[in-house]
């Protein structure tokens, strides 16, 4: 089992996306299937951007073995009031200034749900959010 942790800073749009790029780079070095790498990278990016925009500071943890990749993202931000609603495509709570930057289209969590093999969302208003994403790697690598 290999584990790596990445710190994600709130409101740091300059560094936003760097953790996901590191995740992508590591998966490539190991040589997982490109399609799988793309799915994990998309989820990592969406989760990272959520932390940057809403989450306060957070940690993204990647743990993997040859059969599965687990991506966890914990933050200490504002939390999600209604998870069911947040999973609906197009539902956005992004601030107008973030939308002006091209973010906050309300596709973050729906995109993660679409690309991860399993997604668990735990959140408490005012305390933070915990995303737990699993990807099956068995048979997809070479």
């Amino acid at each position: 089992m290999l584990e790596r942790q990445f710190h994600v800073k709130a409101n740091d749009f300059v560094k936003a996306g760097e953790a996901s790029i590191e995740v992508q780079g590591l998966l490539k070095k190991i040589g997982f299937d490109p399609g799988l790498i793309r799915r994990v990278s998309i989820c990592a990016y969406e989760a990272e951007m959520n932390v940057v925009m809403h989450g306060g500071d957070g940690e993204m943890t990647l743990s993997l073995d040859a059969d599965r990749i687990v991506l966890e993202c914990r933050d200490s931000g504002q939390g999600i009031e209604d998870i069911g609603l947040a999973l609906k495509p197009g539902y956005s709570t992004a601030k107008p200034e973030h939308q002006e930057m091209g973010f906050g289209a309300g596709m973050g969590l729906p995109n993660i749900e679409k690309n991860a093999d399993s997604l668990e969302v735990k959140s408490e208003k005012g305390k933070g959010t915990h995303l737990f994403m699993i990807f099956n790697a068995g048979g997809e690598s070479g």
Partner: protein, 426 residues
């Protein structure tokens, strides 16, 4: 990964002179591919080199240079067609127009001179037709990635093989002029194809990858190599012949944004090796799916910033923009005719771009994960100064080199200090 069909040892055209190299770490640190290590006091290219020349730009000793096949290419000009990069047109200042430069080449004794800017306009229209076709398909591989810069193609083949399907299978202007110039020269001289060759005058060594094939008579030389002689020939040329046919779009080809300048599509132009890699990462993550075409050039500001170019890239860029205004932004090609050629397959590329196989220090995924885990452990013990004294470009790469058995932990000055004091490194 499917490694059954892949390039194993791509040729590169960068050399490090061991006499001049003093083993400083600047080139190793500048290499975006992490392909250089300092071993035995000198820098060596040990990994996949894409000929971006970032190493040469930072070397304080002039030890790194791009290889140019100068003399071999110039030996028999009567049997040689010459095809200069459009960058050449802007290397002689404001007093000379593109046609003057082409006349200068003619005066140097080349049997046939081919204007690449016109071909660039043909290619651009073919590219537009290709994009239009792709728009009609269910899942177009957008953004398409330009096939023009060979260093970018090498990066895609090595670091982003999943994006190879984004590269249109179109012949680049260089590939087209190579084919067409040869065909015309054969017709002119009434001889066999293997009796003639094409000389490309290029702004960078990355172009050598395809044109400097030792089996053929085709050659490539850097602009700097031919500059002196051409400079004199350009001043002396006073013929009336018209050799330049394109408008401003074809002439603007050498600067970043030149390829997309006349393209009716949603495009972005990116230049410089680091921004190129950053954008390819974005494409791979699906963040640029709304863009139809991505022009990437490995040199900052485009080919005018190539390491073999003689004139300053920013002044050159200004001159290219002046040419574009002067010659107009209308394509001078016959669109109906080009369309016919396109549908006849005239623009299809003869080359197949294969992924470049990654070095696989461990054969299975499980073993490679174990190797990365070991590297993580080693990394925690390193100083984190990224000094390069160990011979690897940064601490993480060093940890990976040690985990793969390619370097010894004792090469790290920080660790060695601990070992010398009686501590164990691990």
């Amino acid at each position: 990964m499917g490694e059954s069909k892949a390039q194993r040892h791509p040729v590169h055209y960068v050399e490090i002179d061991e006499e001049l190299c003093n083993g400083c770490v600047l080139c190793m640190k500048a290499c975006p591919m992490k392909a250089i290590r300092v071993k035995g006091g000198v820098a060596r290219i040990v990994g996949v080199c894409i000929d971006c020349m970032e190493c040469a730009r930072v070397c304080p000793n002039g030890a790194v240079r791009g290889v140019s096949s100068a003399d071999r290419g110039l030996e028999d000009r009567s049997r040689c067609a010459v095809c200069p990069s459009t960058v050449l047109y802007s290397q002689f200042g404001e007093d000379y127009l593109p046609n003057d430069i082409l006349l200068g080449l003619s005066r140097m004794g080349f049997s046939y001179v081919h204007d690449q800017s016109y071909t660039a306009e043909m290619y651009e229209f073919a590219l537009e037709l290709y994009i239009r076709e792709k728009r009609q398909t269910a899942n177009p591989p957008f953004p398409l990635i330009s096939p023009v810069c060979p260093a970018v193609v090498q990066i895609v083949a090595y670091r982003f093989p999943s994006l190879l399907t984004h590269i249109p299978p179109l012949a680049t202007p260089r590939e087209i002029v190579n084919r067409e110039a040869k065909r015309r020269l054969v017709a002119k001289r009434q001889c066999a194809e293997d009796e003639v060759g094409v000389l490309h005058i290029v702004p960078c060594p990355a172009i050598m990858i395809r044109e400097d094939d030792p089996r053929s008579r085709d050659r490539a030389v850097g602009i700097g190599t031919i500059y002196d002689e051409l400079s004199k020939a350009v001043q002396e040329a006073n013929e009336d012949e018209v050799l330049h046919y394109s408008g401003g779009i074809g002439l603007g080809w050498g600067i970043s944004g030149g390829e997309i300048a006349g393209l009716n599509a949603k495009c972005i132009a990116v230049s410089g090796v680091h921004d190129t890699i950053r954008y390819l990462e974005k494409v791979e993550m699906g963040l640029l799916d709304h863009i139809e075409f991505l022009e990437c050039r490995i040199c900052t500001e485009g080919c005018v910033g190539g390491p073999f170019a003689v004139a300053d890239r920013y002044q050159t860029k200004q001159l290219v923009q002046k040419y574009t205004r002067m010659f107009g932004t209308e394509r001078r090609i016959k669109e109906k005719y080009i369309k016919k050629l396109y549908y006849e397959g005239w623009f299809e590329s003869a080359r197949e771009i294969l992924p470049i196989a990654r070095e696989t220090p461990a054969p299975t995924v499980a073993e490679r994960i174990e190797q990365q885990r070991k590297a993580e452990e080693i990394l925690k013990k390193l100083g984190g100064k990224h000094c390069g004294m160990c011979g690897s470009p940064d601490c993480r790469t060093f940890a990976e080199d040690v985990a793969a058995g390619k370097a010894s932990a004792e090469n790290c000055a920080y660790l060695k200090g601990r070992i010398d004091k009686g501590g164990d490194w691990c």
